[in-house]
Symmetry: C2
Subunit: 210 residues, 2 copies
């Protein structure tokens, strides 16, 4: 996973902003792996510092609490999902099959980032309120992309009329059925390949919109 950490709002003692950005990226890259393997609470700040390649003292120059690290990690994961889906959307924009294409790309992103998405489901509640809020907003922003695609289809007549609330809910369903592959994969992968899964769920999701 490429780390697209949009370093922001995290208090630090260090003056050089580029250095902060670089170190934050190191912290995220180290912490993601450890959190996936051990969970947030069982991972120690020392382990993170060691994996990132500097001392515990230095670590605390770039963050003020362990929860800061969790926020950096969640934010980086959402940034990557969002950029993947946005790219897919501009590529697919317009075509009659754009919905199916966007779903496909999104599900593939979920497939590749299974562990990361699972981590967000598990640890979001460990964030302090103000950051939990930001992480949940990212979730809404990603869902918003699907709202746009659906609204466009309806406006061009490529899909029959759907009310705003139906579109909204459908967009949430797309989001969550992508996530479902990550948190039920231990079961689903016994019966379906990711390609099977995409095909069946697309059929299902397109039921209402055509």
């Amino acid at each position: 996973m490429e780390s697209l950490g949009r370093t922001k709002d995290i208090a630090t003692q260090i003056k050089n902003p580029d250095l902060v950005k670089r170190r934050h990226r190191q912290i995220v890259d180290a912490a993601v792996q450890l959190f996936i393997k051990q969970g947030f609470h069982k991972t120690t700040t020392r382990q993170i510092a060691a994996a990132a390649g500097f001392s515990i003292g230095s670590l605390y120059e770039y963050i003020t609490s362990k929860e800061d690290i969790l926020y950096l990690v969640c934010d980086a994961i959402h940034a990557e999902v969002e950029s993947g889906v946005s790219a897919a959307m501009t590529r697919a924009a317009g075509g009659r099959n754009s919905l199916a294409e966007v779903i496909r790309e999104y599900f593939l992103v979920c497939h590749q980032m299974s562990d990361h998405i699972l981590l967000i489901y598990q640890e979001t509640q460990s964030l302090p309120p103000q950051w939990r809020k930001k992480v949940l907003e990212s979730e809404v922003r990603i869902t918003g992309i699907f709202v746009e695609v659906l609204a466009h289809l309806v406006s061009t007549g490529d899909s029959p009329y759907l009310s705003e609330r139906t579109i909204e809910l459908l967009a949430h369903n797309i989001s969550v059925l992508g996530h479902m592959w990550t948190f039920r994969r231990w079961f689903l992968a016994r019966h379906y390949s990711i390609e099977d899964y995409i095909e069946l769920q697309t059929e299902f999701l397109l039921g209402l919109s055509r």
Copy 2:
């Protein structure tokens, strides 16, 4: 929430099985509240003992590790969901609308047990492997109820033919869209009441099966 703890497999020093059952129930009832409020890791065994009404020493006569408590809690939650859905199924059995009825009852159970279901999503990975496996099996068992309902509809001709794998996936979708109400409620409840949600999702889920 009534605690239907099916006390089992937890090693204990105490001889009297009824006492063990009663104490386990006390432990579960105390721990559920604390875990929901603070999360598993931030809750201490002392808090659980105090809330259950006995000492930390006694607590450890009835369990061998803190993870035992988490397992008892997850198991009790699944037992309650399962019994709710089973009841709904026998009640609705047969009728042409049985699927809609079962979905409705299930979604209402999810609505009532939002916090509990959320807890399972967050903490299942904190369980030792053998118990995580049991908790995941409960998830499959609950999904299996929906498989039965769907298979029955197809067999009586009340629904057009659906392949076994389509039925299986549909059943998972029902499970997860119920859960979605719990983990996106912070957003969804702004736009939809639980009744709106049930109505729209039922329409959506019945798309393929009629």
